[in-house]
Point group: C4
Chain length 272, copies 4
C-alpha cells in the first residue's frame, strides 16, 4: 500500500522524477486548455457556435481536476494540511468555478458565482516555480521590498499632488471631473501609458502634464543613464590597467602605467 | 512639568519609541482619511449624497490637526523654530485649507482659497522619510544632480528642435497649431507617453515622429542593453572564479584559484 | 578552375576580404532597394504613378538575386548544403516572392503568394551579423534564456488574471467584449503602450487599470532604481579598494595587491 | 590693443573666468528669450496681441547677436576659422533667421526662409557642454557606437518585418493603408508610445500586436531585470569578499573571511 502511495506522491508532487515531469506537462496542458476554453466561450460568436465542444472539453478537464484533487488528499498523511494550503484552496476553487461555468446555461442563478471563474487561472501559478531561476528573482524582490514600498508610496504621493493640481487647473469638460479621476489620469501619464481618453486642454495644464511626463520618463531614463555612465567609467578605468611593459628579468607583464620597476622582482623596467 | 513635555515630545517627534510609532500610524491614517474625504467630495454624485458624513469626518480630523499643531508649539522651547519650519508651514496651511473646505458650502467667496486644498497632501511628505532606505535614494539623486540637469536640459533642447521642425512640416489642421503646442506633442512622444490627441498626418511628419520615438525609446533601451552586455561580460570573467580544489584534511572546497594551502586547516592542497 | 571558384567564394562569403566587403555593400543596397520598392508600391498613389519604374527596379534586382543564387550553388562543393541551409531557403523564397510581385498585375491568382513578400526582408537578417558585437548580444540573450522565459510566462499569467478580472468588472460597452479582448487590453496597458482604443469606464475598472499600469511601470523603474542605488553603493565602497601597502623608500602607496617591490623606486615592499 | 582683444576673448570664449561666466549667463538668457519670443509669436492669439512687444524684444536680441558676431570675428586672428566653424555658421544662420522673422509681416515672400527659424535653437547647443559631465556621457555614447548602430538596425528590421505582416493581415480600413504606414504603426507600438491613431481590428492582428508590444517592453524590462538579479548576486558574493587579514609569513593579503591559514604558504593566520 505504501509503495503505491509513494509512487503517486512522486508523480503528483516531485517534478524532478521522470513520471513527475510527464505529469507536470499533462497538468500544464490541461490548465492551459481550461483557461483557453473559458476565454473562447466569452467571445459571443465563438461561444454560441462551439458551445457543445467547449462544454465537453471543460467536462473532461473537470473530471481530471476532481480525480487529481481526491488523489492528492488520499496520498497525504494529514489531508487537512493540503486542503487548507494555498494550492489546496486554489485547486478546490478551480473545480467549483469550472463546474459552475459548465452549468450556467441551465442554472442561471449561478451567474454570480461565475465571478470566481478567473480564479482557475491561479492554478497556473504553480508553474511559476518551475525553475530555480524564478526563486532568485523572488529573493531579489524580497531583498528590495523596502525600496519597492518607498517607490510605490512616493509614486502615489506624486500622483495625488499632481492629480489635485490638474483638477484645479483643468475645466471639467476636459475629463478632469473629480480628484480621483485626475489622479487616475496622472497615473496613466506618469507610467507613460498615455491612453489619451483624458488629455489636458489648457496651456498651464499642458505645461504641468509635460512636467509629469518628464518625471515619469526621467525615473527610468536617468537611472539607466547613471548606471551606463558608471559602467563606462569602469571600462575607462580598466583600459589603463593593462599595458605592454614586460619585466626583462621575470617576464611579469602586468604593470601599472607609471611603473618604473617590476613589482614582482624589483628589476628596473626602464633602461634594459 | 518637564517630564510631561518630554513624554509628549517622544510621542510627536520620535517615531522610534513605542508610543511615537503608534502616534505615527494614527496621524498617517488621519491624513489618508483627510485626503480621501476631499477627493471623494470632488466627485459630484458622491459629494452631494454623503456631504454630511464627509463634513463630520473632516471636522474631526480638523480638530485633531489643530490640537496636534498647538501641542507641537507648546512642547518646543523656541516655538518660532517650528512655526517657520517646512513642516510647521505645511501643518498650518493644511489646517487653513481643511477649514476653508468645510465652510465652502456657505462661504462661496472662499472658493478661491480652495486651491490651497491640495497642500494638505504635503503632510504625507513627512512619511517619505519613514525608512533610512529613502535617504540612500535621495543621496544617490544628489550625487547625480549634475547628470540629471544635463539630461533634462538636453531633453528639452531636443523637444524644442523637433517641435519647431514638426510645426513647420505639419499643417495646422493636424493639431500642430503653434510651436509650444508642437513642443508639447514632442514631449508626449519622446517620453513614450503617446496620448494620440495630436498625431502627425503627413509622410515627412510621420518620418520625423518615428525618429523622435526611436530616440525616446533608445535612451532607455540602449542604456539598458549596454549595462546588460557589460554585466554578461563580467559574468563570463567571473565563471573562472570557483574551482574544484578540495582539502584532503578538512574537506573544505572553497579555495581561490592560486591557493596552495587550505585556508581552513593549513593542510597542503598540492601533494595530498 | 579552382582558382576562379576560390575567388568567387571570397567575394560571396568572406566579408573580411576587400572584394568581399565591396560585394556586401552592393548586396545590402540591392536588398534595401528591393524592400523600399515593394513598400512604395503598396502606397496606392505612388504604386499607380511610378508603377513602371518600380517594375524595372524590381526586375534588375530580381535578375541580380537569381545570378547570385546560381553562383552560390556553383561554387559550393555540396550544393544541397547551401540549398537547405537557412540562408539558402531565404534566398530562394525572396526570389520567388519578388517574381510573384512583378507579375501580379497580370497573374491575379498569384495574389495569395504575395503574402510571402515580406520574407524578402529576411535577406537583410544576414547583415545583422556584420559585427562581432552583435554576437556578444546574442550570447547574452542565450545565457539569460531561462530568465526571459520566466519573465514572458509571468507576464502572460498576469495579463490573463487581470484581463479576466477586467472582463468581469467592465461593461461590454467599454470595449471589454470578451476575455481574449480584455487580455489584449491588459497587454497594451502592462507594456505601457496604451493605445486608448479600449479604456476602463467604471471606477473599480479604473482602479485595477491603475494597479496594472503601476506594475508595468514598476517592473522597469524599480529594477532601474535598484541597480542605480547598488551602483552608487559600489562607487562609495570602491573608493577604498586599493590596498594599504606603502613603499618605505618613496612613500608611494598605490600598489597592486600582489606587488612585492615598489613600481616607482624598485624598493622591496616585503621585508623592511 | 592686444590687451583689449585678450580681455574680450576671455569674456566671449572663456567661461571659466569671472567676466566670461557672467557673459555666458547673459547670452543664455538672450537665446532663451529669442526662442521663447518666436515660440509665442507662433500662437495665433498671442502673436496678434503682443506683436509689437515681441518685435521689439527680437530686435534688441538681433542687435546683440550681430554685435557679438562682429566682435567674435574681430578678436580672432584668422576670422575664416571662426566663420566656417560649426558655431560660426550657427551664429550667422541664427542672425539671418531672426531678421527674416522680424520682417515677415511686410516681406511675405520671405516666408520660405522662415523654415530656417528653428536653427536658432541650435545656438543653445553650445551650452550642452557647460559641464565636463556631459563630455563623459558623449564619450560613453561614442564607445558604444557599434552597439547603438546594431540596436537601431535590428529595431528597424523588426519594424519592417512586423509592419509588412500587419499590412497583409489587417484590412485597409483599420489604417494599415500601405507598408510604410504599417511600419510607422509598428515603430509607434514597439517604442511603447502607442498613439492609438492606427490600431489593429482583427484577431490575428491583435495577436501579432501583442507580440510586438511584448518585444518592445521586453527589450527594456528583461535587460533591467537581468542587471538587477546580477547586481543582487554580486552583493551576496561581495559581502564576503574583502578583509584585512594578512599572512605574517608571505604577506599575502587576499584571504577569505573564514580563513584560518594562508592559502599561499600554509602559515597560520590566527596567532602570530
Amino acid at each position: 500500500m505504501k509503495v503505491w502511495k509513494l509512487k503517486l506522491h512522486q508523480v503528483l508532487n516531485e517534478a524532478d522524477t521522470k513520471s513527475g515531469l510527464v505529469y507536470e506537462y499533462v497538468l500544464f496542458t490541461a490548465i492551459l486548455l481550461a483557461v483557453a476554453s473559458v476565454a473562447l466561450e466569452s467571445i459571443e460568436s465563438v461561444g454560441k457556435k462551439y458551445c457543445q465542444i467547449l462544454i465537453i472539453v471543460q467536462g473532461i478537464i473537470l473530471v481530471g481536476f476532481v480525480i487529481e484533487y481526491v488523489l492528492r488528499i488520499i496520498i497525504i498523511d494529514q489531508p487537512s494540511k493540503f486542503i487548507f494550503s494555498f494550492y489546496g484552496i486554489i485547486d478546490l476553487v478551480a473545480i467549483l468555478a469550472l463546474s459552475s461555468v459548465m452549468y450556467n446555461d441551465h442554472l442561471y442563478f449561478l451567474v454570480v458565482i461565475r465571478s470566481l471563474r478567473f480564479l482557475r487561472v491561479f492554478k497556473v501559478l504553480k508553474y511559476i516555480q518551475f525553475r530555480t531561476e524564478s526563486k532568485a528573482i523572488l529573493i531579489a524582490l524580497k531583498q528590495s521590498r523596502t525600496k519597492i514600498i518607498i517607490f510605490v508610496f512616493a509614486f502615489l504621493l506624486l500622483c495625488t499632488c499632481f492629480g489635485t493640481i490638474m483638477f484645479l487647473i483643468e475645466p471639467k469638460e476636459s475629463g478632469f471631473t473629480s480628484i480621483p479621476m485626475s489622479i487616475y489620469w496622472c497615473i496613466v501619464t506618469l507610467t507613460t501609458v498615455g491612453y489619451g481618453d483624458i488629455t489636458p486642454t489648457t496651456i498651464p495644464g499642458k505645461f504641468i502634464a509635460s512636467l509629469i511626463m518628464l518625471i515619469g520618463y526621467g525615473i527610468i531614463a536617468v537611472s539607466a543613464l547613471i548606471v551606463t555612465s558608471e559602467a563606462s567609467k569602469q571600462i575607462a578605468a580598466g583600459e589603463h590597467e593593462s599595458n605592454t611593459q614586460t619585466c626583462s628579468h621575470c617576464l611579469n607583464s602586468e604593470h601599472k602605467d607609471e611603473a618604473r620597476y617590476c613589482h614582482k622582482c624589483g628589476n628596473s623596467l626602464e633602461d634594459v
